[in-house]
């Protein structure tokens, strides 16, 4: 009974993780410029990795593998956003222009046409 519950829970977590990886990949392919694409890719990095590793930790039980997975998760959650930040900063330094909505076409939050 207990093991079935754990299997079901870890299955749900792994499916959730796969869903976020899929969302991240769709975002990477569909979004227009590097900054928004980074935003899409970080869904894979954080939410995807988080749920996948949590699911795997439930499968491995109270073993050394679980501890290693926990360390991997900590490293992921720590380094991948930093890597995304470095990438965005490098793009900004290379003067890659973000694709902005044309003046006046924005939905009101940036209605004065000011470049963000």
């Amino acid at each position: 009974m207990m093991s079935t519950a754990i299997d079901v829970l870890s299955g749900i977590l792994i499916i959730a993780g796969s869903f976020f990886v899929l969302v991240g990949v769709i975002g990477l392919l569909r979004l227009p410029d590097i900054y928004t694409r980074l935003h899409g890719a970080s869904v894979t990095d954080t939410a995807g990795a988080l749920f996948l590793i949590l699911g795997m930790m439930l499968q491995s039980g109270w073993t050394l593998v679980t501890l290693k997975l926990l360390i991997i998760l900590a490293i992921f959650l720590f380094t991948l956003p930093v890597a995304a930040h470095a990438l965005a900063r490098a793009a900004l330094h290379e003067r890659v222009e973000p694709e902005l909505a044309p003046d006046g076409a924005a939905d009101g939050t940036d209605g004065d046409g000011e470049k963000v």
Binding site: I75, F78, T79, V82, H85, A86, R89, A90, H93
Partner: protein, 323 residues
């Protein structure tokens, strides 16, 4: 399940190969090459060759990518496209490829247990290495003990390649305190600096773990060397060359390149002078099994010193040249 993973990985390898051929931006080629190495490391994992997977991930996808990016800093990043197509090289490569495939037809089937390579010395390694060396990781026992002469050759290759690149790139006039280069574009970024400060000790600790745990699990001098070098290179990228050279001074890393080979070959010479064969570790302790573990520790330390020194020295050489 294994078959499915293999199909996916090999298909992606083929896709990446085609993408590399079609890609004209060399920056893209380098990144695709890193992806190829990671896929290859995954294939090695599926084949249960964990040591090779670790080497491929750390060397192929990690440090090679960084060094190639440092090269791209010196050269143009667009591939030169010749005006007219030359048929000669195409015919030559097709002929060589066909010859290789024809030659490979006579090889034993993949995974064939009766193949000569699995019948020659492998059974001895598999059955005897634990009692003879006391090292649970068979790969380390073969690499650093049974075949340590080959590994000495590999270390010497790293040494020679490093020396060659440094000789090619070195300028007569060194400016030790020159202006910080424009390529240090990530310098001054607080987020990256804090993250690097936090992660750098753990990278070195992990390198030490990989080095010393190589007897029991995947790892060893080659992997540990590149991981340690990657830590220093990370500092060089985020904080600039000058800070990195305070952690790993250029003179020290350049001396580490031959020092490791000397440690390795010196280990062999000690046994030679003690009246045994070159790299026969029996002389290091009264207990022959313990003596072999001491010998493995020594030569792995030699590999670590040469590999990490070479990688850092190469990075310094490329970036200094770009000034």
């Amino acid at each position: 399940m294994g078959l499915f993973i293999n199909i996916v990985l090999l298909t992606m390898l083929a896709v990446v190969t085609v993408a590399i051929i079609r890609q004209r931006s060399l920056l893209g080629v380098v990144i695709l090459g890193a992806i190829y190495s990671f896929l290859m490391a995954s294939v090695m994992m599926v084949l249960h060759a964990v040591d090779v997977a670790m080497t491929e991930a750390s060397v192929g996808a990690g440090i090679s990518t960084v060094l190639l990016l440092a090269v791209l800093h010196l050269v143009k990043t667009r591939e030169y496209v010749p005006k007219k197509h030359n048929v000669g090289p195409l015919i030559l490569s097709v002929a060589v490829g066909a010859g290789l495939i024809w030659g490979a037809m006579d090889l034993p089937a993949f995974g064939d247990a009766a193949a000569p390579i699995h019948q020659h010395v492998a059974p001895r390694y598999i059955t005897q290495s634990m009692t003879e060396t006391g090292v649970p990781n068979l790969v380390t026992a073969v690499l650093a003990d049974y075949r340590s002469f080959d590994t000495l050759g590999e270390t010497a290759v790293v040494f020679i390649a490093g020396i060659g690149v440094m000789l090619l790139l070195r300028r007569k006039q060194q400016s030790p305190s020159g202006p910080e280069a424009a390529q240090d574009i990530l310098r001054g970024d607080v987020i990256l600096q804090v993250a690097t400060k936090l992660i750098f000790p753990f990278i070195l600790l992990f390198a030490l773990y990989v080095q010393l745990h190589g007897d029991y699990g995947p790892g060893g001098g080659f992997q540990a060397g590149v991981i340690a070098a990657a830590g220093v290179i990370l500092v060089a990228i985020v904080f600039g060359q000058r800070v990195a050279k305070r952690i790993a001074p250029q003179g020290v890393v350049e001396r580490m390149v031959p020092l490791g080979v000397l440690i390795f070959a010196g280990t062999g010479l000690v046994s030679l002078f003690a009246g045994r064969n070159f790299l026969d570790y029996v002389v290091f302790a009264a207990d022959p099994v313990y003596a072999r573990q001491v010998g493995i520790l020594m030569v792995e330390a030699g590999v670590l010193v040469t590999v990490s020194g070479t990688m850092i020295a190469l990075f310094y050489a490329f970036v200094d040249r770009g000034r």
